[in-house]
Point group: C2
């Protein structure tokens, strides 16, 4: 990274073909122009972001790329999950055609998870696929949705029902953007970071335990470290299971119950908060099964508390509703649910040998 006075962390995502790098650090966006120009020459660059991010960061990035002499356009769509549909994709595609996008153009997905999903899906089908680079700006997008190659949009019948597996050519995580976004969004993303610690890295978990005040203060070195470790874990899992055969299921730790909690709240509870509660519930379930210690359970709960994440099942989500939602999820095969359980902090396994009574008990004891 010639000419830059800091070091970007690099995580390699190894795939059968089309392996790619994640670059992490402060000031990545400010310095991305030269990198794109040298490594990803294109006939034109299309920055795609939502209406919020477009104003905060989109214009800046547009100017940065233009100042490098790159033929760049900024396209945006209304912020929010409601935009994650095919109409948005078609509308962006039409704008791209009008601005002369061809097979040598490149899509730059600048924003959170929704933007990443829409923009990468668009890139994957535009003229049967053009290159896409992810520039995730929220913590959740940096540690989760920008790694893994899942793209998609919603239809009224369900989320992410139309999409592709499509790998980005590169991911640039500028940790400086985290400060420009709402604090709640940052805390939400921390639930996924805790998840990575729980399933794969006692070391990461202990960094979080020992440094949560500095993390909440967005201390760059620490943020850089936890984003890098999270991406490494996800990259490792995705490398081994690119299209959801089996291993990738461990990334669902806390998510199975979390999704039910989200749905029961009619999506008034954020994904991160729901995952936080979900992790507590399945850890309680592991205790009930005699597989997890009360001591480590308390450590998990304290960490989530300290990060400002919820740890109790909401009073207005009754157990019966949650159980129904759980057992009617699209991933449920023949009434069996796969749960990811941690026998200790930093290790996990998948099991479907859980009785519905045990799930009920776990939910009830987390109120």
């Amino acid at each position: 990274m010639k000419g830059l006075d800091f070091v970007w962390e690099e995580v390699k995502v190894e795939l059968d073909k089309d392996s790619y790098d994640i670059l992490i650090g402060p000031g990545v966006l400010t310095n991305v122009g030269e990198d794109l120009k040298n490594k990803f020459p294109a006939s034109s660059y299309f920055i795609i972001s939502d209406s919020n991010v477009s104003d905060i960061l989109g214009e800046d990035l547009l100017n940065i790329l233009k100042s490098e002499g790159l033929n760049t356009y900024l396209l945006s769509f209304p912020a929010g999950e409601a935009s994650k549909n095919m109409d948005t994709v078609v509308s962006l595609a039409r704008d791209m055609v009008k601005k002369g996008a061809d097979r040598k153009s490149l899509v730059l997905a600048l924003g959170g998870g929704v933007t990443g999903d829409i923009a990468a899906f668009l890139a994957s089908i535009y003229m049967r696929g053009i290159r896409c680079i992810q520039l995730p700006t929220s913590l959740l997008a940096q540690v989760d949705s920008s790694v893994g190659g899942k793209t998609g949009v919603d239809i009224p019948e369900g989320k992410n029902l139309l999409g592709t597996f499509f790998q980005p050519k590169r991911v640039y995580c500028d940790i400086g953007t985290l400060a420009s976004l709402p604090r709640d969004e940052f805390i939400n993303g921390m639930a996924e970071v805790v998840k990575y610690g729980m399933i794969m890295s006692r070391e990461l978990f202990e960094i979080l335990e020992g440094n949560y005040p500095e993390i909440l203060n967005l201390e760059p070195e620490l943020i850089c470290k936890i984003v890098t470790q999270s991406c490494s874990i996800k990259a490792d899992v995705v490398s081994k299971d690119e299209k959801e055969g089996g291993l990738r299921r461990i990334l669902n730790f806390g998510h199975t119950v979390g999704h039910a909690i989200e749905a029961a709240s009619d999506y008034t509870i954020s994904h991160g908060c729901a995952v936080s509660i979900g992790m507590v519930v399945v850890s309680r379930l592991a205790i009930i099964k005699g597989m997890f210690s009360e001591d480590e359970f308390i450590r998990l709960k304290n960490l989530l508390d300290n990060l400002g994440l919820p740890t109790k099942v909401p009073a207005n989500s009754d157990t019966k509703t949650l159980i129904e939602l759980l057992y009617h999820d699209k991933k449920t095969i023949a009434g069996k649910i796969n749960f990811v359980l941690c026998p200790e902090i930093g290790r996990c396994f998948v099991t479907d040998k859980i009785d519905v009574k045990e799930v009920e008990e776990a939910i009830d004891s987390c109120r």
Copy 2:
């Protein structure tokens, strides 16, 4: 093919991964149930066809599969190129969700090129990709669009601008369906068969020359032979160039000029007729360049005439308009057009060393 009293021809499409077979013969559709049941078990089968084909063949196929005990649904959309858009795809996807389609479901694309493009695109993005089997019913779809893995829909700014590369698991070409479709559609498809002869097989060309009356009478053995040879040639080209690197361009013989003629007529001239005229124009161009003989040119023209295909540039397409359309095609790079020329029947090469004056002369001498 146990229990069947005829032999299906087989063409293998060899790809890096996901190679597949094309099965060709009379009565393929009637006998497809057992084959699907044994080789492609699925939680449910979704036959997708347009409103015309749905009535003629869709209901029959639905009953055949149901009689094998397969959980099958028939979905249709209004016939015509105007349906080839994202609204049709989303509407079909929503129907599939409502009928319980999951990741183990299978899409059966029953119909012509438009149906194949829509249904395969839908399959490629439904829950990030489910299996698709092509059941092309028109000659054009059998020899061209069902082989090659290109899927897509139109947007107002252009045709096929959104799509994927997505290989079917198998292609079943029932040559019996050709009799149930309008004669014009059959003759249209013959233009592509002539093309395969011109670019790759003098033998195929001579079969057409020697047997056109029987072919126009849909004599099964001959139809089976020409469909098989055409699919073999396309399969061979696609195997060597899955994603349009270079070789695949030879399939554009007659198409570059043909597309301009289609566009100049505002799509009142069919694709097949336009390709027929296009082949005559570029063969004249080859003569102008001193690369093709007048004798073989006359053989091509006579064959097209005998098949009922047009060989003259329409009076209402003026040369200036055609030249403009040619040089503004999306595949035009820096004003250079790639032309596929045949130095003799059965061989071809790609060249961009053609002067616009020569193209004008070729067009003018084909009026």
